[in-house]
């Protein structure tokens, strides 16, 4: 057993969807010897990618997992109770979307992986040279398709994994490029005597001469078998089994499972937000906070100014009573504007300005497997993405609110001068008369609390399952609605509890 990298023992795999269940594999008994370089072939939709994600520990947590029967042992550890944390670092996967962090340079991508594997970041240059990227552009987003694959290889090698999984590494490349990548993978494989490599591919010719064996998914028999390096695909291997197809399963049960998993994900997001609140990635957190404080402030202040100015102008113009009545109006308007209305509007504006962008960014990262890549490196996506967001919004929202209140005050002063000729001195006293330090605390508290909750909601919706761009768009839509609902609810409850 010890010389087997992957062992299937009575292994079965079934996809669950709403109302139906489809068995893909059944009763597989197979051991994949260590230090082999294997291709993994089979018909599309047969479950290759599912097996690969299972092996890499990337099962989507918010959807009912594929039904797994029997046992699957990776590097001596059973996956029966989930993916063991000890395997992170030992198993690396190069996914079809490489999951490169586009916001960082190629070198920083490799350095991050090295740091997560407790290795010196200085090794990055060597790894990049190995994959032929020593003169790569500084921006990951500008790499060509082939370069991205190479970079993904370099990053996967950073943790010197014992099991390297690749999902269609040659897809989208011309035959020459494909062969280069195949050779590179073999070369990387040979660097480490302990390493086992499993490559899901449809492009066996590209790997000709590099393989130690071919793992074949036999769709008809719903089983796996290991063939020699000279394997040629046969029609029998890709033909569906007689009577194949989904069987009915309880829709209600599926619904309950999905609901529970969604609730769990929600609870997990909340727990993560609390547990990962200390800014472990200080630089990232500080940068995000600074941006959240500076960038939305002018836009939010504009909104506050318009509201404060209009409210004051019409309050005074429609009640043309001078003297004490005017002061009373200003006093009332000031309190309502600065303690209730402007903070609420500032919260809305902040959400519109910041939450949509943050959720879209997270959704795109999820969609392009960047989140998965971080997970595989053993990095906590929460530390790199959630914590900065929480801090940024919990601090940025009060700052934006303050900016809005200041703008509202100045706009109201101008409006009061325009509507009834109030002087600056005559304006300031009544405008601020009814406000106390407690009001300031309440306003800041409302903004900070809603900022924190909005960040969690944005995170939660952003990292949900994303199969398509439409999913990303939908997550952004939901995040905006959820964020505004949160702002509204927090403001309503706190305002009611404080002033009712």
């Amino acid at each position: 057993m010890t010389d087997a990298a992957i062992t299937f023992a009575g292994f079965g795999l079934a996809h669950r969807r709403a109302g139906r269940e489809e068995t893909l594999l059944h009763g597989v008994d197979l051991a994949l010897p260590t230090h082999g370089f294997y291709a993994f072939v089979g018909a599309s939709g047969g479950g290759k990618s599912s097996v690969l994600r299972l092996l890499a520990g990337l099962v989507e947590p918010r959807e009912p997992a594929p039904r797994v029967t029997g046992d699957l042992v990776v590097l001596g550890q059973s996956l029966a109770n989930g993916f063991p944390a000890a395997l992170r670092g030992d198993v690396a996967a190069i996914l079809q979307d490489e999951g490169l962090l586009d916001e960082r340079s190629p070198r920083a991508n490799v350095e991050l992986a090295l740091r997560q594997a407790d290795r010196s970041p200085l090794l990055a240059a060597g790894l990049l040279a190995v994959v032929g990227l020593d003169h790569a552009p500084d921006e990951t987003a500008r790499l060509s398709g082939g370069m991205r694959k190479r970079l993904a290889v370099a990053r996967a090698l950073a943790s010197s994994p014992r099991l390297l999984l690749c999902d269609e590494p040659t897809a989208g490349l011309d035959p020459a490029g494909a062969r280069t990548i195949a050779a590179l993978l073999r070369q990387a494989h040979d660097q480490d005597r302990q390493r086992t490599t499993l490559v899901v591919t449809h492009d066996l010719p590209a790997f000709a001469g590099t393989l130690d064996g071919v793992l074949v998914l036999d769709r008809g028999r719903r089983t796996l078998r290991l063939e020699g390096p000279g394997y040629e695909p046969t029609a029998a291997d890709t033909a569906a089994a007689p009577g194949d197809g989904p069987v009915a399963a309880s829709e209600a049960l599926h619904g309950v499972r999905t609901l529970l998993l969604q609730a769990a994900a929600f609870g997990e997001s909340l727990l993560e937000a609390v547990r990962r609140l200390p800014p472990f990635e200080l630089a990232e957190t500080a940068r995000a906070t600074w941006r959240a404080c500076v960038e939305p402030a002018p836009f939010v202040a504009l909104g506050g100014g318009v509201l404060g100015g209009l409210a004051t102008f019409f309050a005074l113009q429609n009640n043309p009573l001078h003297g004490g009545m005017e002061s009373a109006l200003l006093t009332g308007t000031g309190k309502v504007a600065l303690a209730v209305l402007v903070p609420l509007l500032a919260g809305f504006f902040f959400c519109a300005r910041v939450v949509a962008g943050a959720t879209a960014r997270l959704g795109a990262m999820k969609r392009t497997n960047q989140i998965a890549a971080l997970q595989m490196m053993g990095a906590r996506p929460a530390d790199l993405l959630l914590t900065p967001m929480v801090w940024a919004m919990a601090i940025g929202m009060p700052v934006a609110t303050f900016a809005a209140c200041v703008a509202a005050s100045f706009a109201a002063m101008a409006a009061a001068a325009a509507a009834s000729g109030t002087t600056a001195g005559g304006f300031v006293h009544p405008w601020l008369a009814a406000l106390t330090g407690r009001d300031a605390v309440v306003v800041v508290g409302k903004a900070a609390l809603s900022g924190l909750l909005v960040a969690v909601a944005s995170w939660h919706l952003g990292i949900g399952p994303k199969r398509s761009s439409a999913d990303v768009g939908e997550a952004v839509d939901r995040a905006i609605v959820a964020a505004m609902a949160i702002v509204l609810a927090v403001h309503a409850i706190v305002t009611f509890a404080e002033y009712a």
Partner: protein, 501 residues
């Protein structure tokens, strides 16, 4: 595969349900704020709704939590919650009523008009002296209409120098707090309070006569409660006297100028059974000539005029509420060589910047007001014109708009010369009471620890020789003065002395 996640999901859902329940309970109990709950029973709730405010002297001090029928259906029971700070104002004997718009007849007009545009509210009033505060949960009977027998909050508070006296009458004849007191057809005061005598033998009507008119009330004055009186005969025509009392009864009085002595505060007099049949004399010829009658503050027998000095100011504090400073004492009145009415008094009485100090040096004193109550009851404003730079706690005031007929201390009663001062000379300290009336002289030495003695005049050998001042000026600020010192008058500068001295 997701076993743990299903558990976490279950717990999250459970937590969400519990959280929602908690939130709902919290919101429902939001009005369970600390406070003193009371139940007030009314025959009619008059549209009162939960959430309406409870007011005492026009200030919101609580809220109505619920309005419900009593178990027997005979009453409306209003649950109110008073703020803890204000709850002590609701005492045994407090009157609760519901304020809605009402028409009180021709005489009282409309009240509660503010409730036309806002909800009805509950008001309560507490008569003084106060009873014990109502314990939480008390059930009290509410009134159907605002009470008239508690001190009417719409009455002006009596000012310094106003005459407060009591009229005794066999019957009230419809007087109410706020009813007018009329002298020669002019409103000179008002009725403060009406109470039945303890033994029920008569009615006691408390009156206030404004200070500028108190000189018209003497012990010979005839008081009556005005009722319309019809006199005459069918052929000669009818005369209705005091017709104005048809709408609102009032108290009238008549006094002949120059007869009798002025009525002191607390003066009690019995009302005449009906309007006295007195013929008012024509306007004196002198008044036609002078254009002004000559009332006078009669000088006291020994010719030394002691006046009451009332001082108020505000000490502005940066971090705490401003402190109000109120002091009252005495002063010596005379007319100086340029004809100004001067009052010599203790500086610690009329200069808060002299007595107050805080940790930051000189405190900011604002809104200073000095008033001088003359023996006749008139109250005049005064300004500080001199303080003793040598720190002897002496100050001089000059009265604003002093009447030309003002009687001050005669110059020969004042001892400004040093050689006349005999520190051990026997003498007394003269003080005046709150209404300007002289108090009995007290021997020097017994004035210690009487803040009211500040500014009292030391009289020896028939002359005013000095003024009682504070030993320790900071102690005056603390309200615990030791006041045994007398400063002799010779410190007053020459230009403030009377002619010839």
């Amino acid at each position: 595969m997701h076993g743990l996640r299903y558990l976490l999901g279950l717990m999250t859902l459970l937590g969400a349900v519990l959280g929602a329940l908690w939130l709902q309970r919290t919101l429902r109990n939001l009005d369970d704020r600390p406070g003193v709950p009371l139940q007030v029973e009314f025959r009619e709730a008059r549209g009162l709704r939960p959430g309406a405010v409870v007011r005492h002297r026009g200030v919101d001090v609580g809220a109505v939590r619920s309005v419900a029928l009593s178990p027997d259906g005979d009453k409306a029971v209003v649950q109110v919650l008073l703020d803890p700070a204000a709850a002590a104002n609701a005492c045994v004997g407090s009157a609760f009523w519901i304020v809605t718009p009402r028409f009180g007849g021709l005489t009282d007009g409309l009240s509660g008009l503010d409730t036309l545009v806002r909800d009805a509210y509950v008001a309560f009033a507490t008569p003084s002296p106060r009873g014990t505060p109502l314990p939480p949960g008390s059930l009290v009977a509410g009134r159907e209409r605002p009470p008239v027998d508690v001190d009417d909050e719409s009455l002006e508070p009596p000012a310094h120098g106003d005459l407060l006296m009591t009229l005794l009458a066999p019957e009230n004849h419809g007087l109410r707090p706020g009813s007018r007191v009329v002298h020669r057809g002019v409103d000179v005061g008002d009725v403060r309070r009406i109470a039945l005598a303890t033994d029920g033998s008569h009615v006691e009507v408390a009156l206030r006569i404004a200070r500028e008119h108190r000189a018209t009330v003497t012990d010979k004055a005839l008081f009556w409660i005005a009722r319309p009186q019809l006199s005459g005969a069918l052929l000669s025509g009818f005369t209705v006297q005091d017709a104005a009392s048809l709408l609102s009864p009032f108290v009238g009085y008549h006094a002949e100028p120059g007869q009798g002595s002025l009525a002191p505060d607390g003066f009690r007099v019995a009302a005449a059974p009906s309007r006295p049949d007195v013929e008012l004399p024509p306007v004196p010829a002198a008044a036609v000539k002078a254009g002004k009658p000559t009332p006078a503050a009669p000088a006291p027998a020994d010719g030394i005029v002691v006046v009451r000095v009332v001082y108020s100011a505000v000490e502005r504090d940066t971090f705490t509420p401003d402190d109000e400073i109120q002091r009252a004492g005495n002063g010596l009145l005379y007319v100086d060589r340029s004809g100004r009415a001067v009052v010599i008094t203790a500086r610690s009485l009329v200069d808060a910047s002299y007595t107050e100090s805080d940790g930051y040096g000189a405190p900011e004193i604002a809104d200073e007001q000095i008033k001088v109550v003359l023996p006749g009851g008139a109250v005049l404003r005064a300004g500080r014109v001199w303080v003793d730079a040598d720190d002897s706690d002496l100050a001089a005031l000059v009265l604003d708009s002093a009447p030309p007929d003002l009687v001050g201390t005669a110059a020969d009663r004042l001892a400004f010369a040093v050689d006349l001062v005999a520190p051990q000379a026997p003498g007394v300290v003269r003080l005046v009471g709150p209404d300007g009336a002289p108090l009995a002289p007290i021997p020097l030495g017994s004035t210690t620890a009487q803040p009211e003695a500040l500014g009292g005049v030391f009289v020896g050998d028939g002359k005013a020789r000095g003024v009682v001042v504070a030993d320790d000026r900071t102690a005056v600020g603390d309200g615990a003065a030791s006041l045994a010192s007398v400063v002799w008058l010779h410190r007053v500068p020459a230009e403030l002395r009377p002619q010839g001295l």
